[in-house]
């Protein structure tokens, strides 16, 4: 994950756009927490500039 974030940084894309969470298949609260975190992060970073490609 760290390496992939480095690859994103190399091309000028925010590494925070990518994250990995280890969540048990039945652990819904942890899933909801992760989704909320990434949603807030995405809103703070703004739309992905590559969306149009």
């Amino acid at each position: 994950m760290e390496y992939t974030k480095e690859l994103l940084k190399e091309i000028g894309l925010e590494p925070e756009r990518l994250e990995m969470f280890h969540i048990g298949a039945s652990d819904a609260p942890a899933w909801a927490k992760a989704v909320t975190l990434m949603t807030e992060r995405a809103k703070a970073l703004g739309p992905n500039p590559l969306k149009s490609i």
Binding site: L7, E10, I11, G12, L13, P49, L50, I53
Partner: protein, 227 residues
């Protein structure tokens, strides 16, 4: 195997500036094993290039191909149709493969995507260390399978030097002295007598560049002397 590492992304991108159609060519042998230029690394780099050009809204067309090897013409010939439409080729093979690709397609600019470093081995996942300098006169039979030309910082033919301290190299305190390692290995094997006579200086004529090796069975075909 030959060990290489990918060049910094900025350096690769700078070398490709101005081209509209680029083919990234990987190699499925040594550079694939050392995670520098195989199919997966080609995929990663082409994705990075497409995304990077996309961020700049620069319509560059990046294609990818990975050959079994780039050091054999039969594999290089396989992409001749694809190469026709390209402005430039970026090779992730070792230095030998990059040059052979350039020779195979003399009308296309060829750029390196890796730095070729040494002949080495996989110590552990993601870690490779040098073992051989390709000196052309292997003396591993005498030195118990440990190469002093590679592992000794000074490349001494006879050692250790006067700077060795408690088995460690004077140039790098973290490193064991190669000649101490050789001594200990030969002692264990009861072969210390092998390093009692001084080894004669290396024959640097065998390191004349560029080197050529002709197999004995092909000497007549290539009108070569014995090598």
């Amino acid at each position: 195997m030959i060990v290489a590492s990918r060049k910094p992304f900025e350096e690769i991108k700078k070398s490709l500036s101005g081209y509209r159609n680029i083919l990234v060519v990987g190699c499925g042998t040594c550079v694939a094993v050392c995670l520098a230029g195989g199919k997966k690394e080609v995929g990663l780099l082409t994705s990075q290039l497409r995304m990077s050009y996309g961020l700049e809204k620069d319509p560059v067309n990046i294609s990818e191909e990975t050959l079994e090897r780039q050091c054999d013409r039969e594999f290089l010939e396989m992409i001749c149709d694809r190469v026709k439409d390209q402005d430039a080729l970026l090779s992730l093979a070792c230095g030998a493969g990059i040059q052979f690709l350039a020779e195979a397609y003399p009308e296309k600019p060829v750029y390196p995507g890796v730095n070729t470093t040494f002949i080495g081995v996989a110590e552990a996942a993601g870690l490779w260390t040098e073992r051989c300098r390709a000196c052309g006169e292997c003396l591993l039979a005498v030195t118990g399978g440990i190469c002093p030309r590679t592992k000794c910082t000074k490349g001494l033919n006879n050692g250790p030097c006067g700077g060795m301290t408690e088995g460690k190299c004077e140039v790098d305190q973290e490193r064991s002295c190669a000649w101490v390692t050789i001594y200990e290995r030969l002692a264990r094997e009861g072969r210390l007598a092998q390093i009692e006579p001084m080894l004669s200086p290396g024959d640097f004529r065998s390191q004349t560049r560029p080197g050529t090796v002709t197999h004995r069975a092909y000497l007549r075909r290539y009108h070569a002397g014995s090598k």
